[in-house]
Point group: C2
């Protein structure tokens, strides 16, 4: 059990909803759970903190982040800004191979969605969508925001109709990429994200 393993496992717990926003994460308990001392646990918590999944304060126990309504709005605004920009860059450089990879990612995400593992597939599809842009830093920022948003979503049961809409959006995005309709594709992505934001916000109050 390395710190990386520990942080990955905890990330799954957080994003899977086992650890709800606001939960406390005592180092000692985690150390016992993973069969290590507190040192690698501290390391793992530091990783999660820099990924934006937990909050650390001196002499305080770590907590799973809990975003306010305004913070959720800001996060989605940032995703809109960064993802539409990255998508536009990707579209300009998209090769037939990239399109095939997007097809593959779409098929996989479709599979995962029925397997109660929708978010994994979502991240995979969008990663494939943006990969042609070859912008690792921007991609990393987007991943961070995506994870932060997902922590908030994880505590709610996702409705099947949401999943359907979401899969339809992905399929539409794929089609628009293939057809080379860049402005329509960008618009669809924008709608996809604002839709996701609004369903999350409707659950928050």
């Amino acid at each position: 059990m390395t710190p990386e393993d520990i942080s990955h496992t905890l990330e799954k717990d957080i994003l899977g909803g086992t650890l709800a926003p606001g939960s406390v994460l005592p180092q000692g308990a985690l150390a016992a759970r993973f069969g290590v001392s507190r040192i690698p646990v501290r390391d793992a918590l530091a990783r999660l903190a820099s990924a934006g999944l937990v909050e650390l304060a001196p002499n305080r126990r770590a907590r799973v982040v809990q975003m306010t309504r305004d913070e959720v709005i800001e996060a989605y605004d940032l995703r809109l800004l960064l993802e539409t920009d990255l998508f536009a860059r990707a579209l300009k450089r998209m090769t037939p191979q990239d399109l095939d990879r997007i097809d593959y990612a779409l098929a996989r995400s479709d599979l995962e969605a029925r397997n109660a593992n929708w978010a994994e597939g979502d991240a995979l599809f969008h990663a494939a969508l943006y990969a042609p842009a070859q912008r690792s830093r921007q991609q990393a920022m987007i991943d961070g925001l995506r994870r932060a948003c997902r922590v908030q979503i994880a505590s709610y049961a996702i409705l099947p109709e949401d999943t359907d809409r979401w899969l339809a959006d992905h399929a539409a995005l794929r089609d628009l990429c293939r057809a080379g309709q860049t402005t329509a594709a960008a618009e669809r992505l924008r709608a996809h994200l604002t839709g996701a934001r609004d369903t999350l916000l409707s659950h928050l109050t």
Copy 2:
């Protein structure tokens, strides 16, 4: 000497040019320097890594980040995207008090610039410029990018003419804010950033 103190001190060294990009940072040496054990040093290095100032790899010594040309371009593209957006949001909500604070920051940055501490003043001025938007996450992202860029700049001697152009840009931005000329202000910010990028790129090869 807390981990936070240590990371701040190291950050100053890195951004001040004492620790050039690529320098190694052995935990033991730092522990001796700061009079603590290696544990808080590891903590400080983790902070710097999450701020994007050093690179950490398992069982390897920490290194000050060294960006490639493409990474510099990507970083400035991201700053352009995030800073122009944040500036536009700030302009919409700018009050007379905010304008006074910007005046104050401009005066201070003018002072710091003559004191060989230009970057501190630069960060201060831009923070004042964006503060009315009240977007902590976006501001944090921008700060991270700004620091990452500055690490690369730190190793070069800044020409006085650059500082002059840079101060003139700031003054112009302030004036455009006061005059309420939002589109011209946004355009000036864009020029300010692309100018900074190009001088950095000209030094890189």
